[in-house]
Subunit: 197 residues, 2 copies
């Protein structure tokens, strides 16, 4: 794969981050590759000036800073993101989403979603923003945009502990994959949220 | 001042953060109080469900993590924000702004603005988002919303090294101050961007 100048190949980004080797190691890895692919898609959208979407930095709780030589943080802890990972502007509208990868081949488990993320997405909907999940079925090579409306109701009513793939196919939109962008998810946004464009 | 449950008084937030004592100490302090006041205004807007606006976490470059007992960051550095400090959704629109405090009583010095922030705001404007600066004249107790359109042109053409207060008065909107919210800046957003509402 050839990437234009300035676009860092997603796998390189993923490799730069240190992943702990645990039972969930492979799953975490896939999640990072998917995240890096979404980041590179956003870089591409920025480059062609189609949208301005960025990943929120992981919040870090800084405890100690050593000022003896510049400002060096010597004790800090990762905090859980209380919102979603991505937000930005597209066609004037506020856009907000979470990107998740699953190894399941049949459904998207709700334990991937934090209660405060559901609250956050419900707020975005109330303020007429565009809110969704990008759900990647890593073993199937299938990625869907699923509107947050559907997810929030499912999460609140909890008819099941996971959203069946069949329901995601019915209520979501399949995302085209390619090289640049890796995930053409704004086409899915157009199809669902701007049907006249 | 009485704050309702859940709203942390801005000065407490400012006091929690450690400020280095330097020549610029007082200015940094004022900047932090202003930032804390904007954060508390946003908390209030969230509470009354008027808008969903949040501060981007300061990006931190994590160099070393000790995994011997949980994940403890042992070496990291603050990075410069390459965008603005705040973004969110209001009336369905994407909203993006920077909040700055100055001790000048006559003008807003352009050195408070980073070139990449101007680029970022120009992008927001191109994608039809709402973009502005909140400029606080600390010694005058005056705070203005100044549309990014004006700032970006001024920054590019640089007729002067600072934007005169008189120009800010002419092209910006004075923000009402009170207790809750401390800065009623969404009224200024309404006045400028949603004149019919």
């Amino acid at each position: 794969m050839k990437y234009p100048k300035g676009v860092i190949p997603p796998k390189e980004i993923a490799l730069k981050k240190k992943v702990r080797i645990t039972k969930k190691g492979t799953e975490a890895n896939r999640g990072m590759v998917f995240e890096a692919d979404i980041n590179s898609s956003n870089d591409y959208y920025l480059k062609i000036d189609r949208a301005l979407i960025s990943k929120r930095p992981t919040p870090i709780n800084v405890v100690k800073v050593d000022y003896s030589n510049g400002a060096k943080i010597t004790q800090a802890y990762f905090e859980k993101q209380s919102t979603t990972d991505y937000n930005g502007v597209y066609r004037g509208k506020y856009l907000d989403f979470e990107a998740k990868s699953t190894q399941s081949t049949t459904s998207f488990p709700l334990h991937n979603i934090a209660p405060q993320q559901v609250e956050h997405l419900e707020r975005v909907i109330r303020h007429n923003g565009i809110a969704f999940f990008l759900i990647n079925f890593a073993l199937l090579n299938l990625t869907y945009l699923l509107p947050a409306q559907y997810i929030c109701v499912f999460y609140r009513e909890k008819p099941r502990k996971s959203i069946p793939l069949s329901a995601i196919k019915e209520h979501g939109i399949l995302i085209k994959e390619g090289i640049l962008p890796r995930y053409e998810y704004l086409d899915a946004v157009d199809q669902y949220y701007f049907p006249s464009k």
